[in-house]
Symmetry: C2
């Protein structure tokens, strides 16, 4: 390492407040001002004399909390009244089974695009229920390292399901598949609220909170009114989308703390960042900085096709396992957390969700450049 | 009010730290030392440089967290290796549907004892699935104000389900129903970990955390090994008990924060309180103090039969609505939170879960005595 690297100051700062550069794939970094606010009011939520974890989900204080989170979601995504904003427990994994259970039409197939482990899991749940599943496109042939461009949607399909960002391999739809009128359904767990989207072709969007919008333990569901008409009467109460839409997600006790944190993160997104257009700019800048290092590097090699690259999860490999391990070891010693790739892919991955700062990425980039220089020189 | 009431000092103390006497029925009070510890380490969990909300559920730090919560549960309840300790999302309400889905035996009925709203909801979910439900006992005839003592269990039943404590009306089984060898299943949401229990007759125990052991957003399930053999293969992955038992509740991202808090609450229960025998003594003392005021009172009237009284939720009425409202208004002004009864019962309810201190109850009792004196005098 050189005497006075660019990233050393920032590293010292991070150490001073005992924080690392957190590139966790999820649960992931949360905005520091949000964490500080939670900490500050943790024993006395809005002058109630109780912690947010101790107040009733039927209290007006919590009602304001959940209403505000919903209103911010509506504004940030530009949702019309046609869409409901709902909160569920069970993560995206419970949605994998709820989607076909609630939204497949009798005698009609359900279409899936398979772009990785999470799509595969969603498909499995539809099959367990005996639905007629059609895989209309897959990138399994090249270990999901690209997004398929060829697929046909016919009007028979109940819906077309796809994963908007594939956390593990690091691909992301920059332009969504065209459903040709068939409702799109998307697992947006790992890029929800990271960029503006046009929701109109979507019948349903779901996202586990623990990447971009909050802590683990809650999933957000955006569902279009017409989808609710599909929900069969004979489903267990907790597994019907209509149960949540009829009760404003308060059929039973919701995960109050997680919803509260979502509200704070969305406020930060709206008021501090300035909305999804601004967030997207920052996210693109962060990803560009890293991809630039990778593209100009002799030792870092991108894992996915250029056109399919994700702004959320940047994946790369080093030329051999030994150097890769040295990179990861030095990264950890220098305060860069969770750069190890998913075990099914190997290599490295930097997850750059909304709360990961430009400064953290710049610091990482400086570290990567120096590591490369040193490893080539020495 | 008299000049210098007994409870005034305590009230001033509470005000000084901006805390109320929290009698919430759930989400409910948490132990203050636990809340303070969460607050203190919220930006830096165990020296990781991350918040507990930002660490990976696959990290060794979280593994220690969940393992410790499970180990404490085993010690506190004296569980043998036959029992698994699992975490689920979706609250007790999701368990209402998972229990019959996973544990009813083909061609065999499922037996339920109906002692209130929550039992009724559990029964409804079994019926939605088309199970042959037998209500072997009910106290609906007297608005659930007692626990039925007459019921017959025959060996045909898949299981016998009952609610151990009925939050809304305020009844609690002091001696559990006898299953005569048929596995008992109990929703213990509102008295779990409030007293020692003999788990051996139970096939499954479930409890939403938000009353005695943690924040909303997680339910604990204690399941006996032989029950897992009943789980059908064709259930959605997230709805099978075996999915959680095979993955130590880490099939997908669990509610990490909620599990962390449970761990802290159970540590408090084990190390500060001294275990379930000690907890039970304190809980009985708290309830006795209140029931004593009620039994000696000319204005407070208990709602449930003496033998069925709950140590967790003490319910009572005042002679008329006007006085009842005045009581509730003065209570709130004096820092006693959430004494209003459930809308289906009316009157008042003080929920005395583990984290509600003897001091809070003593203070309430002094307030109630003074209120009575004043209202009789005046």
């Amino acid at each position: 390492m050189t005497e006075n690297p660019q990233w050393a100051l920032s590293r010292r700062e991070f150490r001073a407040q005992k924080r690392v550069h957190n590139f966790n794939p999820g649960p992931a970094a949360l905005p520091l001002p949000v964490l500080k606010e939670i900490q500050e009011e943790f024993l006395d939520f809005h002058g109630s004399g109780m912690s947010i974890t101790e107040i009733s989900h039927r209290s007006s204080l919590f009602e304001e909390t959940i209403d505000s989170a919903i209103a911010r979601t509506r504004r940030l995504l530009g949702l019309s009244d046609e869409y409901h904003v709902l909160f569920f427990q069970g993560g995206a994994s419970l949605q994998f089974c709820m989607v076909p259970m609630n939204l497949s039409l009798p005698g009609r197939p359900v279409d899936y695009i398979n772009t990785g482990l999470w799509s595969t899991k969603a498909i499995r749940e539809a099959r367990i229920q005996g639905k007629e599943v059609r895989i209309i496109a897959t990138s399994e042939d090249k270990k999901f390292s690209y997004l398929p461009t060829e697929y046909t949607v016919d009007g028979q399909a109940s819906y077309v399901h796809f994963t908007s960002n594939n956390t593990i391999v690091g691909t992301q739809w920059q332009r969504f598949p065209d459903g040709h009128g068939v409702p799109l359904i998307s697992d947006m767990s790992s890029d929800f609220m990271s960029r503006p989207i046009d929701v109109t072709p979507f019948g349903l969007i779901y996202a586990g909170a623990q990447k971009n919008i909050g802590p683990a333990g809650v999933a957000m569901v955006i569902i279009r009114e017409d989808m609710l008409e599909r929900v069969p009467d004979n489903l267990p109460t907790m597994l019907r989308y209509t149960t949540a839409s009829n009760t404003k997600s308060l059929f039973n006790t919701p995960p109050t703390f997680a919803i509260y944190v979502i509200g704070l993160v969305l406020r930060w997104l709206e008021e501090t960042i300035g909305g999804l257009e601004e967030m997207e700019k920052i996210n693109k800048e962060k990803a560009s900085l890293l991809y630039e290092v990778i593209d100009k590097s002799e030792i870092y090699q991108g894992i996915v096709e250029h056109g399919s690259r994700s702004t959320m999860n940047v994946t790369f490999r080093l030329p051999n396992e030994k150097l890769g391990q040295r990179f990861l070891d030095e990264a950890i010693r220098n305060g860069f957390h969770a750069l190890k790739g998913h075990r099914s892919v190997g290599g490295c991955r930097a997850s750059l969700y909304n709360a990961v700062t430009l400064d953290s990425v710049r610091t990482l980039v400086a570290f990567m450049r120096e590591f490369e220089e040193k490893s080539i020189r020495g």
